[in-house]
């Protein structure tokens, strides 16, 4: 045959939220091969994962949606037959525009949006106009995040980032508490795979706390099985050993980078200067109390010179007080290896030994010079993610693990525990993409970029009460007047020190700067009832609660007097019925929404069961999208790997009548006569200046807009032509960015003082409205708190069931690709339910038996059993999110077992602080059939 064309298109993968750079080979108009882009750091430098390679089977799956569909069967439910009718785009969008337009006019809160977690950055741009209308209800994480609330909140407060990862390139001792860095999908999955493999090969020790010896546990130097949800007590025990037995503590870090020296009085609150309200510390050199920011601490040398007290008792303004570290030190004593062993089943000696090893390997006090900068060298790191944090003790567990790195001073320094890139000094040619943590309220870390932007719509940089440093150097996007109407600063100007000071003196107001502005978790908002459907107004630390699908949803909304109910659900991807929790509970909440519109690649359990209109979406191989690269502190290469801004560009034109969600949104806004507002949103997102902004009524093509945006951000030579050839823009990471901790003068908490006030304020509200909240975990000192699954006293429901990430899958979206299905069938564990071999034998079970798992509330799943040596005897596990039944997914249908149906979804089974859902369940095993 004649080869008329054989080209490679550089673009970005869209099969998990790592967005690795790829190249796709196209021959005679057909995409034939996908490979990792060897020229970028955004990925495995030429390698890829199986999911990425199977992307061709997303493009060419004959079950792809091609025309808009309308449900003609009014009955909705998990197994309902929608009886689709094909309709025209015009009919679909006319109806959607009419209903959406009405909602936007009447009350934008009546719209619930959800977006797939696989490509949140694409949507950060697509749905921005809706946020600018006042839409606030978004269900993140693929229509129902049931993890991450604790982890992202703590990583935000401590590392100014979305999550944490070891500095694999330089770390020698790596502890995971329920994480899959380097063996699964997710943030920088192939970056981590590449780096973790190198670390393993050069002899770095990986200590993996995990009930399962597969993937993460499987690559451990030392696999440490434990009861799910007990990571917190182990971390606290290690902290106790470090502080109270070994005395291995990074005093410099604690004194200069944390609130360890902040003086605390009897009631648990800070002692504050009566006039300035600043928190006070005791300066040992001067023998008196001084404000926390008494000394500027611009670098490591200055930090070493700080001499604030961490222990002792002092009297300030007639008040007896102690540094918070003194309280913490005493508090930690109760966490003994023996107690932790009882709770977790990890031998006490093992915990003690690991704490000792961690202490030694952290090399507290050492430094290294990189590019002329002296930075601390702490080659020991402890991280956690879903396995450790997905429980009713989420917030405190995450904080306990974070505390380990605080004690040895390894946060965001060479070799230690890194946030994803939290500081950027800007793209060298244009200065765009500048963002940084800075000193905020009470001296704590605040940030103006906490991505992905889409997840926290409408949040902006709060004017800081006590300091204004962070605003200096930023470009402001609005003209600000003082109380007398006089202009302080014009829109588009750069903020100088004087301007910042003037802004800081204004009464409470919000200031918009730079395109990323989303605002991190600090400072916390005051608890109050403000009509937030997720209770985030009452719970200041509630990150992404599951109220949207909760079984006690209506009861909650009655109590908070929610003045509206959802009239429309707009979903991009997502498989809410099967990927969150109990199918029935979630289904009931979706059923209540009268108009459901889904933009999708396939017909899924969500569309078949609940959608009124389905729109055929383009996949990432049929799409132009410039916002995909906006994940700087979400999925960018971390440590000293380069900044790489990738653009998604189409390999083939969209087939049939598929239209990208981006195009559809632009069309909808036009139909609703909101072109001017649409264009304003785009201008805000890009942060166009006056010269380059879109005019009110301006029309554009996606290609044209992409070219314009890229040139604006990266300079005239980096427009669409450049991207068509290279696929991405790259620039070097600086030390002051990668290991920013001592380059920015700001602090993080080791003592959660804010809990004292929050508890008091929340209690007033929740008692008044009759909302039952367990306040045991609202304590300023981090604690171990057992979850319902631990407290259940039952011999019948004897096993802890949990799910885990399998490298072959992302959520529920990958079982439809035949290659991934083949690999899953070949793997002994992926499609099966796994259990410890002895536990199984005792129950008279064997490999291949058909079994049913049932919870105390009667929720159940069935599947095939696989016995393992590498499994905690008291646990049972299921990989990924399989068990599809949708007719639109013939390859995925009937494969594997679904785990999520076992989970309760209500306030009672959530972390009372972060509202993270409990993601493990107690079950009993029933044998249905011999294998």
């Amino acid at each position: 045959m004649k080869v008329e064309e054989d080209v490679k298109i550089p673009t970005a993968c869209g099969r998990c939220y790592a967005s690795c750079g790829i190249k796709v080979r196209r021959v005679n108009g057909v995409a034939v091969q996908i490979e990792g882009n060897p020229d970028t750091d955004m990925g495995a430098r030429g390698g890829l994962c199986a999911k990425g390679i199977a992307g061709l089977q997303v493009l060419y799956d004959p079950n792809r949606l091609n025309v808009p569909l309308r449900r003609t069967n009014p009955e909705k439910g998990l197994y309902a037959d929608p009886k689709w009718k094909e309709i025209s785009w015009d009919e679909a969008l006319t109806e959607i525009a009419e209903k959406l337009g009405k909602i936007l006019k009447e009350d934008p809160r009546k719209l619930l949006i959800q977006i797939t977690t696989i490509r949140p950055l694409y949507c950060s741009f697509v749905i921005k106009p809706l946020f600018d209308f006042g839409v606030t209800n978004i269900w993140v994480g693929g229509g129902g995040l049931h993890c991450g609330s604790g982890a992202h909140a703590i990583a935000g407060m401590v590392n100014s980032s979305w999550s944490i990862v070891p500095d694999f390139q330089n770390c020698n001792y790596i502890i995971y508490f329920g994480a899959s860095k380097g063996t699964a999908a997710g943030h920088s999955s192939m970056v981590s795979t590449r780096l973790a493999a190198e670390a393993r090969d050069r002899g770095a020790k990986f200590v993996i706390f995990d009930p399962l010896c597969n993937y993460a546990g499987g690559k451990a130097t030392e696999w440490v099985p434990l009861i799910p949800g007990t990571d917190g007590i182990i971390a606290l025990t290690m902290c106790n050993i470090l502080v109270n037995e070994l005395g291995v503590v990074d005093w410099v870090f604690l004194k200069s980078k944390t609130n360890a020296p902040y003086l605390v009085k009897e009631d648990g609150r800070y002692v504050r200067d009566p006039e300035t309200k600043r928190c006070l510390v005791w300066d040992m050199d001067e023998g008196r109390a001084v404000p926390h920011d008494y000394k500027d601490i611009p670098n490591y040398r200055a930090a070493c010179a700080v001499n604030y007290a961490l222990e002792g008792e002092y009297r300030v303004n007639g008040v007896t007080c102690r540094p918070s570290f003194q309280l913490l030190k005493e508090h930690l004593k109760q966490y003994t290896p023996e107690k932790a062993s009882q709770v977790s089943t990890v031998p006490a000696e093992t915990i003690r030994r690991i704490a000792n090893e961690f202490a030694t390997e952290a090399k507290v006090g050492s430094t290294v010079v990189i590019d002329g900068h002296e930075v601390p060298f702490r080659p020991a790191s402890a991280v956690l993610f879903r396995g450790g944090e997905g429980h009713e003790n989420s917030f405190h567990t995450c904080f306990a693990v974070s505390l380990l790195s605080s004690i040895v001073g390894s946060h965001d320094v060479c070799g230690g525990t890194l946030g994803w890139p939290a500081r950027s000094l800007g793209f060298p040619e244009t200065g765009k993409f500048t963002f940084s943590p800075y000193k905020g309220v009470d001296g704590f870390l605040q940030t103006d970029y906490f991505g992905p932007a889409v997840l926290h719509p409408g949040k902006r940089v709060n004017e800081m009460k006590n300091t204004w440093d962070g605003l200096v150097g930023r470009v402001i996007r609005e003209t600000v007047h003082d109380e007398n109407g006089k202009v302080i600063v014009e829109s588009g100007s750069t903020i100088t020190r004087d301007i910042a000071y003037a802004l800081a003196r204004l009464p409470e107001r919000m200031i918009k700067v730079e395109p990323f502005v989303t605002g991190g978790p600090w400072p916390l908002k005051e608890p109050e009832i403000r009509g937030n459907a997720q209770l985030k107004d009452i719970y200041p630390l509630g990150f992404d609660p599951g109220v949207f699908g909760a079984s006690d949803q209506e009861e909650i909304w009655q109590k908070v007097n929610l003045p509206y109910r959802f009239e429309m659900l707009l979903s991009w991807g997502c498989n809410t019925p099967m990927s969150v929790a109990s199918f029935d509970a979630v289904a009931n909440s979706i059923k209540r929404i009268p108009f459901v519109v889904v933009s999708e690649l396939f017909n899924t359990e969500l569309t078949e069961g609940f959608a009124d209109i389905v729109l055929p979406d383009t996949c990432y191989l049929e799409l132009m999208s410039f916002s995909e690269g906006r994940g700087q502190n979400f999925n960018y290469p971390y440590g000293m790997d380069d900044w790489c801004y990738h653009v998604v560009q189409p390999v083939v034109p969209p087939k049939e009548q598929r239209r990208s969600f981006l195009e559809v949104m632009c069309d909808l806004l036009d139909r609703m006569n909101y072109r001017d507002r649409r264009n304003k949103s785009i201008n805000d997102f890009v942060n166009f200046d006056e010269k380059h902004r879109l005019r009110e009524d301006e029309e554009f093509t996606i290609d044209g807009l992409t070219d314009r945006v890229l040139k604006y951000w990266f300079g005239e030579t980096h427009g669409l032509d450049y991207i068509k050839e290279h696929g991405f823009v790259r620039w070097k990471k600086k030390v002051e960015e990668a290991y920013w901790r001592y380059f920015v003068d700001c602090r993080i908490p080791v003592y959660l003082e804010f809990m004292v006030d929050i508890k008091e304020k929340m209690q007033k509200i929740t008692e008044r409205i009759g909302l039952s909240v367990d306040y045991t975990q609202y304590t300023p000192l981090v604690l171990w708190s057992p979850c319902s699954i631990h407290l259940l006293d039952s011999k019948e429901f004897d096993l802890y069931c949990f799910s885990y990430r399998d490298v072959l899958h992302t959520g529920s979206s990958t079982m439809e690709q035949p290659w991934l299905d083949e690999a899953s069938a070949m793997n002994p564990y992926t499609y099966n339910i796994c259990m410890h071999v002895e536990t199984g034998k005792k129950k008279g079970l064997n490999d291949g038996d058909l079994i049913k798992l049932e919870t105390p509330t009667g929720r159940s799943v069935t599947g095939t059993l696989k016995l393992m040596e590498g499994h905690h005897p008291q646990a049972i596990s299921i990989a990924a999110c399989s068990g599809h039944w949708a007719k639109g997914l013939p390859i995925a249908r009937g494969k594997g077992t679904n785990f999520d149906n076992l989970l309760e979804i209500d306030l009672k089974h959530s972390d009372p602080v972060s509202l993270n859902l409990e993601t493990a369940a107690r079950v009993k095993v029933i044998k249905l059939q011999k294998g």
Binding site: V32, Y60, N63, L808, A823, P828, G870
Partner: protein, 217 residues
């Protein structure tokens, strides 16, 4: 003349099946045919357990059993070590399939299998059969991506060092666990890895002298 071989680092390997699928992609293989596979298991007793991942493929043995049994001479070993199958000569007797102690050869008997059963062949499958035709009724297996190796060398590229001239499974591995090169060159990366890391062959007792070495965990 080079003697091509491979080293697989089991320390780095995470058992992600990328190599297996990259191979299928490179050669447009039909459903349920694998020229590279990943075997997964466990070693040890609780709690001292290790996961085992073994990416396996044709070993291009120096003393290949398949070559010695082939009645038509379809299976031969090139001077550079690659064990090849001439589809014109192969009659599909499958003697080689039985003879290979590593079970890495497959009989291609059914050319009707669709990736989406009952829904026809996708564009990719249709074009793939033209770009890389397999002969129904013959035995097929890994070829060390001989087309890439040969075409690459013609362009002056080095197999194992330059992507275009290197087998697909090697360049696709995200953990960089696979290496390809000249086993007869003591200075090559594969030779150095074999000696420095004490890499060993799979089941050397089969006496076929595989060209693939594994670095143990």
């Amino acid at each position: 003349m080079a003697r091509w071989g491979m080293v697989i680092n089991l320390n780095k390997c995470i058992g992600c099946y990328t190599c297996m699928l990259a191979c299928k992609q490179e050669h447009y293989l039909p459903p349920n045919m694998f020229w590279a596979r990943v075997l997964v298991g466990e070693l040890g007793k609780y709690p001292a357990v290790r996961k085992q991942e073994y990416p396996v493929l044709c070993n291009h043995c120096k003393d290949a059993a398949c070559v010695s049994v082939c009645p038509t001479g379809a299976t031969t070993k090139r001077e550079d070590g690659i064990v090849m199958i001439d589809y014109d000569k192969c009659v599909g007797c499958r003697y080689c399939v039985m003879a290979c102690p590593y079970q890495q050869r497959t009989f291609y008997g059914d050319d009707k299998k669709e990736y989406f059963p009952g829904q026809g062949f996708t564009e990719w499958e249709v074009l793939g059969r033209k770009l890389y035709p397999l002969e129904k009724g013959t035995v097929v297996k890994c070829t060390f991506c001989v087309e890439r190796v040969d075409e690459g060398q013609k362009k002056g590229l080095k197999p194992g060092m330059d992507r275009e001239a290197t087998p697909a499974c090697v360049i696709a591995c995200p953990a960089k666990a696979r290496y390809f090169g000249d086993l007869d060159d003591p200075a090559s990366e594969v030779s150095r890895l074999v000696s420095e890391r004490k890499a060993s062959q799979l089941s050397p007792e089969f006496n076929t002298n595989p060209s693939i070495y594994y670095i143990a965990r």
